[in-house]
């Protein structure tokens, strides 16, 4: 019995660790939350295994509570992600690294692809007209006015 239990515990620990890897390495907000959900899977598997090891229903009851908390967490986190996306028009977590204290070092190397929050395209999301004719130069525009 005990040897069988340990294998399930290893699989649960593996799922948790994969979630940790995903949470730390991915830069997409949605992938980070999905990784957190995978950590919860690992914890659930461990709880069920412990319940079977002790022969009580407590492990499965705890797992149902874990499921409840995971559902709440997913809903709240997605609402927060939508809010962040509305502000920055990107799911990149790197854009929010400016939230740190001003005298602290950057947690990761900035400028590795992600455009900073202040320099985003101001015309993004506005309707575009089909370009027609040739683009007037600045001097021409000044002369005509």
């Amino acid at each position: 019995m005990s040897g069988d239990v340990e294998r399930f515990l290893v699989v649960g620990a593996g799922l948790f660790v994969l979630g940790v890897v995903g949470f730390l390495t991915r830069r997409n907000l949605i992938m980070m939350i999905l990784s957190a959900e995978m950590m919860l899977h690992g914890v659930s598997l461990t709880l069920v295994t412990f319940g079977r090891m002790h022969g009580t229903s407590e492990g499965q009851a705890f797992t149902i509570f874990t499921l409840t908390v995971a559902a709440c967490e997913a809903g709240l986190a997605l609402a927060l992600v939508l809010n962040l996306y509305r502000k920055s028009h990107s799911l990149d977590i790197q854009l929010w690294s400016r939230l740190r204290e001003p005298d602290l070092q950057s947690p990761a190397d900035e400028g590795s692809g992600g455009t900073p929050l202040t320099e985003r395209d101001p015309y993004k999301g506005l309707p575009k007209l089909t370009p027609a004719g040739r683009m007037p130069s600045d001097s021409e525009a000044v002369r005509n006015s």
């Binding site: 959900e37 069920v48 229903s57």
Partner: protein, 251 residues
């Protein structure tokens, strides 16, 4: 530590090979072309199989052994693919496969109700919500920030040091138990039933049965069930309050 490596070389080799597979599969910054996935996948699968086969003993029944290998390898492999996928839509779909495999492992451990409810909640609700958010927010498919991993090598190594510590503890515990038994120290029968008598399993309420689980939930943990319901209510109110409204502009 070194003694553990010497006595369990297969486990250590499995961990190392698994780390190498993940590092191969992680989106890299300098590489213009994505690396081919096949070597990384093979390394990962070999690492997982070495690690799982070196811990614990095999079961006597062939069917449960085959099912355990099927579900555990698919859970961990799909987890690796989810963590390293460049497109978040594929990541969500791999996560659905991880959920299904975990539910298979639940079934193997005689938790059928839990498997069913996990499939309903995760595959039915959570993944669909994630896909909706991806559709709302990221219509362009894979973008630049999905092609790069952030601090890939330190994060992976740190996480696998954690896994190595857990596995080492699991492998050292039976030895400690045997030593205690040899010294005449007999562990007391697990007194888990003392505090929560309704969670105990017997012939009438076997492990994993709806009757036993319901008795545990609504007997021993009735107050916690009420709290969990309140938490769900508050979380749904909070999600509605936080989510951006239409008058604040389109998403």
């Amino acid at each position: 530590m070194t003694a553990w490596i010497q006595t369990h070389p297969v486990t250590f080799a499995g961990l190392i090979i698994w780390v190498l597979g993940i590092l191969w599969l992680l989106p890299a910054r300098q590489v213009a072309q994505p690396r081919p996935k096949i070597p990384g996948l093979l390394l990962t699968a070999v690492g997982i199989i070495l690690l799982c086969s070196s811990v614990g003993k095999a079961q006597s029944e062939l069917a449960s052994e085959v099912l355990f290998w099927l579900f555990s390898v698919s859970a961990l492999l799909c987890g690796v693919l989810m963590v390293t996928s460049r497109n978040p839509v594929y990541g969500a779909l791999w996560f659905a496969l991880v959920t299904l495999s975990t539910c298979g492992l639940f079934l193997l451990q005689s938790a059928p109700f839990l498997a069913a409810s996990t499939i309903i909640v995760y595959a039915g609700a959570v993944i669909v919500t994630f896909l909706f958010v991806i559709m709302l927010a990221q219509q362009g498919g894979a973008l630049g920030y999905d092609q790069q991993s952030r601090q890939g090598i330190p994060a992976t190594v740190a996480a696998f040091v954690l896994l190595g510590a857990i596995v080492m503890t699991l492998q050292m515990k039976p030895a400690a138990d045997n030593a205690a038994a040899a010294a005449g120290v007999v562990a007391a029968a697990t007194p888990a039933t003392v505090g929560n008598p309704l969670s105990a399993t017997d012939a009438e309420h076997p492990l994993g049965s709806m009757k036993g689980l319901g008795r545990s939930l609504f007997g021993d943990y009735l107050f916690a069930v009420e709290l969990a319901g309140t938490l769900l209510l508050i979380a749904s109110i909070g999600a509605i309050a936080i989510a951006p409204r239409r008058e604040q502009g389109a998403i």
